[in-house]
């Protein structure tokens, strides 16, 4: 249930258990990374709460895995990876491009700066900031936002 302190953990346990019984192994470096060796090669899953990235050698293995996951959980197949954690992904035979264009646009929109002029160096170069120089800035507490 949403809002409960243990909800994310309960989900982690559930999907982890399922993947392990299906032959996946958790990475020791990152528990959200699962890898399975198959006859064709390997299948890799990265989990970010409710977002999954799936990749690997064999398209057959990948589509089989997708089918199983859809059966087991209410999952939506979003097809090829295009947008993940604010990063646009463009896949081509030449390689994979990662862009944060949309993320930057969203931030500009959020801070009301969509009309600003693009500039190569948005901040003065080699600027030295010191704690006891210049004017104090008053911050309204309700406007401070954490990410």
């Amino acid at each position: 249930m949403y809002g409960l302190k243990q909800a994310p953990r309960a989900w982690s346990d559930k999907i982890g258990e399922y993947l392990v019984t299906s032959g996946f192994q958790t990475s020791n470096a990152d528990f959200s990374l699962y890898v399975k060796k198959t006859d064709h090669g390997i299948v890799v899953i990265i989990i970010y709460v409710d977002d999954l990235i799936i990749t690997g050698d064999s398209d057959v293995d990948i589509s089989n895995l997708k089918k199983l996951l859809k059966q087991k959980f209410e999952m939506k197949d979003l097809g090829e990876l295009r947008y993940f954690l604010g990063i646009e992904v463009i896949q081509s035979p030449k390689g994979i491009w990662l862009l944060q264009r949309q993320y930057a646009l969203n931030k500009l929109f959020e801070y009301g700066m969509t009309g600003c002029k693009p500039i190569l160096i948005p901040l003065e170069q080699n600027v030295k900031l010191s704690a006891n120089e210049g004017n104090l800035v008053k911050i309204q507490a309700q406007l401070v936002r954490f990410h």
Partner: protein, 182 residues
Amino acid sequence: MAKKVLKTPNNNSGVRRSTRVKYLVERLTYDGFVAHHYAYMVRVIWEVEPTCFEQAIGNPKWDNAMNEEMAALDANAIWELVALLEDKKAIGCKWVYKVKHNVDGSMNRYKTRLVAKGYAQTYGIDYEETYSLVAKMTTVRAIIAMAAANGWSLHQMDVKNVFLHGDLQEEVYMEKPLGYVD
């Protein structure tokens, strides 16, 4: 209407700045937007999200959304109705309403979540350990690099109602959601 001065140029910082006087009215109107951005703004502002159950109830759009959420909760059989024992405490819950927009600003759907007031839970009684599956950015980039090097294709899936899937280890008591008695 008299223009209100937002900022008068001052030049005591040593940095060269524009000397144009900037007016508040230039910043706060929608006049500068092209037609489809203007339409987007109107769309977003026009749809008001209720902040509580009392504001939402009776509006068919939100009633539907609440029924949908309730159906998802029922389908996952995540709770049962019990009488609260004297020595137990129940936490509250709240309906949360959100209008989802498409990229072009058109309405996507009315979404409602029933959320438990987890801040009222006590460590050791209502819950033990917390943990979340959050991939590290370096992992994501490493895997994408591997995919690029090996010519693998990358796919994406998402889970609907993700937090309705897990099984709780602890017993948690929650008050009944407003509007749904039995």
